[in-house]
């Protein structure tokens, strides 16, 4: 047990102090910080880039249309003005190229007495003015056309008013309504599920690789032979998995903690933003508990696989190739749960939530988004735990032989060789 702690702490501390780890963590935190402050950052650049308000020249046959347009633009906060000009179209275009105007809007009247317009600009990139002008002119045209047809303004606004459309879930168990997840709860759960799924995906790939690389490194540098003559390889394998696990939790806690602090600070700014989309305030405690359970179990399952595969390669360069099956499994699990996110009740997702390699993601998804009986979750957790134990037992034997194997081949056939090496014949 003493040596277990030695390996465990060594793994944790040496990884924690590694430059690569510190850099990744700092970069990630920076990314979180920038993402949270993205709106204030872009506005900072905007206010510097466009200090003055810009103007669009308007040449209009009908003066009332220009007045209506100008009025509408003032009400609906736009970042440019319109200016009526009397010059010819060509001259106006010239002043655009000179930079006096953002563009020229040429409004003519059609045979039906409705406005038609052409917008001339030298800056095809900036679509905002164009879209705004076209939208406002559209409104003016509709008003004019309906006026000509003799329709009342109120009828028109009722036509354009969006219809009320609500979605409500029907409880499977009948009428005892208590277990129905409301729309808010569901969207909240969806947010958390999405975050956890992504974290799990990220964790399995990066920490799995870290474990496999670490073991391959010890084999490449041949220090492995000393290590396994000092303490049992199986002991070391689990100490490593736990050490990297603790490292992972530390990093995750840092990310989530910093993320949470920023959100709390910006809560006022973000009203209707992040909190509503992810609805974090609406989530039940059980979802959080499931998140932790499935995160840990998922990590252990994939970490054990990574450790075993890492023990089979003798060069660090071969780790990626060996890790391919694990990566494919986790990508598949992630894909299924992405589908499940929009349709958590589908048969496909249900079945996959009992398959150990997918269940950390898909069962958590179902538990978080649906109200499923507790025994279903329990069964899935049980299957997962049994698989992890089985994996660990077989893995330990493969590991014991694998660490002694030095060869160039990198295929899963090596598992057989490793088992032979560790077994008493």
């Amino acid at each position: 047990m003493n040596k277990f702690m030695t390996v465990f702490l060594h793994t944790f501390l040496s990884k924690l102090k590694a430059k690569s780890f510190l850099i990744t963590t700092v970069l990630f935190l920076l990314f979180i910080f920038i993402a949270a402050n993205i709106s204030s950052i872009t506005s900072l650049f905007d206010s510097e880039g466009e200090p003055e308000e810009q103007t669009v020249a308007v040449i209009s046959e009908d003066q009332t249309i220009f007045e209506q347009l100008s009025e509408r633009l003032e009400i609906g906060e736009s970042n440019f003005q319109v200016d009526a000009v009397d010059t010819s179209l060509d001259m106006a275009k010239e002043s655009v190229t000179e930079g006096a105007y953002l563009g020229v809007l040429h409004i003519t009247m059609s045979n039906e007495g409705l406005p038609e317009a052409t917008y001339y600009t030298d800056d095809m990139m900036s679509m905002t003015a164009e879209a705004k002008l076209s939208q406002e002119l559209e409104q003016i045209k509709i008003a004019m056309a309906t006026n000509q047809a003799g329709l009342d303004q109120e009828i028109i606004s009722s036509i354009y008013e969006p219809m009320e459309f609500n979605t409500e879930q029907i409880a499977a168990g009948g009428t005892d309504g208590g277990s129905i997840k409301t729309e808010e709860e569901l969207s909240g759960a969806r947010g958390l599920v999405y975050v956890i799924l992504f974290l799990l995906y990220f964790a399995v790939i990066s920490y799995g690789n870290m474990i496999a690389t670490d073991i391959a490194n010890e084999k490449t540098s041949r220090v492995m032979e000393i290590l396994i003559s000092s303490s049992s390889p199986v002991n070391q394998m689990f100490a490593k998995i736990l050490g990297v696990g603790l490292l992972g939790l530390t990093q995750m806690a840092l990310f989530l903690g910093v993320g949470y602090l920023i959100l709390v600070q910006k809560q006022e700014e973000l009203v209707g933003g992040f909190f509503e989309v992810f609805g974090l305030s609406e989530i039940s405690i059980s979802t959080f508990i499931y998140a932790i359970i499935f995160f840990l179990l998922g990590y252990f399952l994939y970490a054990t696989m990574a450790a075993v595969l890492g023990s089979l390669v003798s060069r660090t360069e071969d780790v990626q190739q060996m890790m391919m099956p694990v990566i494919l499994l986790i990508v598949a699990a992630f894909m299924i749960s992405m589908i499940g996110l929009s349709n958590p009740g589908s048969q496909f997702v249900t079945i996959s939530s009992y398959i150990p390699f997918f269940s950390p993601m898909t069962m958590f998804l179902r538990a978080g988004m649906l109200d499923i009986p507790i025994w279903e979750i329990g069964l899935s957790i049980l299957i997962l735990i049994v698989t992890i134990i089985g994996m660990a037992l077989i893995g330990a034997r493969i590991y014991r032989g694998g660490v002694l194997m030095y060869g160039s081949s990198t295929s899963l056939k090596d598992i057989k060789k490793a088992l032979q090496l560790s077994k008493k014949e």
Binding site: K3, T6, E218, I226, I228, S231, S232, L404, Q420, L421
Partner: protein, 299 residues
């Protein structure tokens, strides 16, 4: 604390790496393991260390199986050198010491003593990858002995070292023996084995072809080496019955003879022919024995 191997075999599939090997290694002695490349030395060491299990036979130390309960009493210097390249010498040795059951304080104390003794104290805070091969080897040696093992297994401990460092490590090995450590070591260099070991065993494709006390092995080998320096031509010695191999030099000859008696016949024939500068009868070197024994099984 005798280490006993009884009829130990190890098969990898159809390949037999070690075949029916029996040995008895006494406490507080240095035991030499000889053999050409691929003779099964490393496999035997790995079995003693419990890294791999023998297919047949048993290995006991002090009448008990060797497993991880005993690993704190065992030191190992593998043939393939292995340390963490990116770790500093201090951290490395403290970690490996702790894995052998030492406390951090003890490990630090021992490590300083050893670095001083091997004259490399200034490498304490250097990364292993920045050291020369010979110095890495010294660190590797320290990692094998830092915890004062009772049983020390050294697989080719002196390869890659210059003569000064070989002497330094040799005296360290002898001191360890005098302090009560049982040492098993393997080498291709016969002179190292001759200088250090009382007992030895020679392996050839997994089989034991020679075993016992060094002096007895030499005596029972029978053949002797004879060196003759004369002022006259002595090539006729080749024709004398009992002379096996002759090597001619500018100053005279080296020859191998079947037994001591042959030397006297040669001497009789030489007398009166001229001036004899040297006539020396020598014990055969282990190198001769090894080459002949190893050569025999190739034929």
């Amino acid at each position: 604390m005798t280490l006993i191997l009884e009829n130990v075999s190890k098969k990898f599939g159809s390949f037999t790496a070690v075949d029916q090997l029996s040995l008895e290694i006494q406490e507080n002695s240095i035991f030499g393991f000889l053999g050409a490349n691929g003779a099964g030395k490393t496999t035997t060491f790995r079995m003693i260390l419990h890294l791999i299990d023998p297919t047949n036979g048993s290995i006991t130390w002090d009448k008990d199986k060797i497993d991880y309960r005993k690993s704190d009493l065992i030191g190992y210097l593998p043939e393939e050198r292995g340390l963490y390249p990116k770790l500093k010498v201090r951290d490395q040795l403290v970690y490996l010491g702790k894995l052998r059951g030492m406390t951090k304080k003890d490990a630090q104390k021992e490590l300083n003593t050893w670095l001083d003794r091997l004259k490399v104290p200034h490498y304490l805070d250097k990364k292993v990858e920045d050291l020369s091969k010979g110095n890495q080897q010294k660190i590797q040696f320290i990692s094998a002995v830092i915890h004062k093992p009772k049983l020390l297994i050294l697989d080719e401990p002196f390869s890659g070292l210059d003569p000064v460092n070989v002497e330094m490590l040799k005296s360290a090995v002898e001191d360890l023996k005098n302090e009560g450590t049982t040492i098993v070591f393997s080498s291709h260099r016969m002179e190292h084995v001759e200088q250090l070991c009382e007992n030895l065993c020679m392996l050839q494709t997994g089989k034991r072809i020679l075993h016992g006390n060094l002096r007895e092995i030499k005596r029972s080998y029978g053949k002797k080496n004879l060196r003759i320096e004369t002022d006259f031509d002595i090539n006729f010695v080749k024709q004398i019955p009992g002379v096996l191999k002759v090597q001619t030099y500018s100053w005279g000859i080296d020859c191998q003879i079947e037994n001591e008696a042959v030397s006297q016949k040669i001497l009789e024939q030489l007398t009166g022919k001229g001036f004899i500068r040297k006539f020396e009868l020598e014990e055969p070197s282990l190198n001769d024995i090894f080459i002949e024994k190893a050569g025999e099984s190739y034929e």
